[in-house]
């Protein structure tokens, strides 16, 4: 029991350390040279990729142990020695890019408070889910089940908070301007020291400009129209991808690093 509690606090510490790195990216992202930004992106991609790999490994092992004989040729083929790492690397690279750009572009303190609070909350929720599900779920599959439960609960709350913040944020009036001016307004406000970072920020800003312009052109008057619902669904999806990338980035804090995986050597 004491080992479990100690492990909990250490996981909290790791989660806070990862949140601190995210905060550093948020604070210094615009003044980072491209090389340093690339290094940060690699760290984030490694963290996210490792989480994806661990979960993929556990799911695959659970599938193989349930349906395939371990000594058969099919078992060796389906072991996923290549596909799981590749998928983890690709997923980690893309989500880390989304996370990096989103962290730099956060422009209100309240949003980052939500992110900072989400780190220990995820560990807490994971511990609670692990305890609650331990009597129901097989021991090997328990980390994935607890992760899904914790990520859904914490992610849902974070998403609700971020969407609420977006709902109450003020936006420029784009009703009487053309698309070029609207997009330019957003693109022009994004500056970074690194040329590549600036391009990424401006691409994201262009997306925001396009979405906001479409929203104000399609739904000039607030009301319960389908177009308005679609507009907010787009916001929701955007925030969901961001929250998912952030939680995936924190996942090594709850799933453990390369040295403490219970599945090590079995699936790899």
């Amino acid at each position: 029991m004491s080992a479990v509690v100690a492990s909990f606090w250490r996981r909290v510490l790791v989660a806070i350390a990862l949140a601190c790195l995210a905060w550093l990216v948020h604070v210094f992202g615009r003044v980072l040279p491209d090389a340093l930004a690339a290094a940060v992106w690699l760290v984030m991609a490694a963290s996210i990729g490792w989480g994806i790999y661990r979960r993929g490994r556990i799911r695959r092992d659970a599938f193989l142990s349930a349906y395939v004989r371990a000594d058969g040729r099919l078992g060796r083929l389906l072991r996923g020695r290549l596909s799981i790492p590749v998928r983890a690397a690709l997923g980690g690279a893309v989500l880390a890019l989304v996370l990096l750009v989103s962290l730099v572009r956060i422009d209100d303190r309240a949003s980052f408070v939500v992110l900072a609070a989400g780190a220990p909350a995820l560990v807490l929720a994971f511990a609670a889910a692990s305890r609650a599900l331990s009597a129901q779920i097989a021991r090997d599959y328990l980390p994935v089940a607890a992760w899904r439960t914790a990520a859904a609960a914490v992610g849902g709350l974070m998403l609700a908070a971020l969407v609420a913040l977006s709902f109450h944020a003020s936006y420029p009036d784009l009703a009487d301007v053309d698309l070029e001016r609207a997009v330019w307004h957003f693109v022009d406000s994004e500056r970074a020291r690194g040329a590549i970072v600036q391009i990424l920020l401006q691409l994201a800003a262009a997306g925001d400009g396009l979405r906001l312009w479409l929203a104000q052109q399609l739904m000039p008057a607030p009301g319960d129209s389908m177009a308005e619902a679609l507009g907010w669904l787009a916001v929701l999806a955007e925030e969901a991808v961001f929250v998912w990338s952030y939680l995936a980035y924190l996942s090594p804090a709850v799933l453990g690093g390369p040295t403490d995986g219970s599945d090590r050597g079995r699936g790899a």
Partner: protein, 378 residues
Amino acid sequence: MAATAAAAHNGSRLRIGDALVALAAAAALAWLVMRVEPLDWSGPPETEIVLDGARYRLDPDGIRELETLSLDYFAAGANDARAIVAAEIEGALDRLFARARRNVPAFLDEYYSLRGEYARAAISLGALVGLAEPDKLEARAASMLLPEDEWVDALARVDTAIAGRLDANRERLRAGWLAEIAARLAHRRVPEPLPGVTSARPTLVLDEKLAEILAREQSAFATRQTIGATAAVGAAALAPVIARAATSRGGAAAAARGAARIGAAGRVGPAAAGGAAVCAPGGPVAALCAVLAGAGAWLATDWALIELDEALHRDALERTLHAALDELRARVEADLAAAYGELLAREEVRIESEIRRTFVPAVAGRERRAAGDEEGGP
């Protein structure tokens, strides 16, 4: 048992230690999140150019290129203006001196005539007794070749023509410069800011600025040009040069004629006495007859001497007059070119100064950027 208790005690201390570290880290993160603002990056100092209603954005290097282009363009425009002025002056003086040259034969006809001879004699006599200005003779000769009203009118027309052509040149320069700048800036165009949003960057409304510069220079040039024209009118005083040339050349001939006339009087004396004898039977009108006969002989002698002088010296005097006109034209042209050249040089200097002042944000931007590079910060 004791070992188990010690392990439990150590585990408890470990838990508390981990918890304290984690809580301290969470508190530190919360403090940082609430206290520290993200760093911003403004990038290189840029200037917004507004040209013909469109907006462009340039970094300091781009502004410097624009400044250099503008300086070169207006320097070339100043050369065009000098060529225009030179052409106008040349054309005006060509016309003016062509009229003067056309007056030369009439002047010579007058000069070699009894009327001209006696008019000059009367003026000389008047000058001797103080009834006429000493230079009246020269002024009269000058007015025959280059009448002052024609001279003044011609210079006034030069002023007007030059002002008009320079205005047209400025307008052409402005249009060409705008087209050149617009072509250079085409790929740097940015959309208008949103309504109610003002750009934090320095904004330079270039076409308005240029129009202001050119209008100011046009006005200043017009003011100075009056002075230039007045100074140029003073060159009309050079006209007596011609008269002096004519009278000095004619003076020698007149002296020769005087001497000849004295000799001729001696020779015509017996003729006059003979005339009196002829008139003697006339009774009381014999004296009048003698006077008339003497005057006729005087006039005939003068006429003959003038004809002789004309035959001998008219061509030389005509050449002297043409040479004097050439000299005068060259001096007037040089004076006018110098006067206008000074005006144009002043305008060029002022426009260059205005352009450099117009692009001050670029200079400021370069200084800011240099300072930023030295500090190595954003």
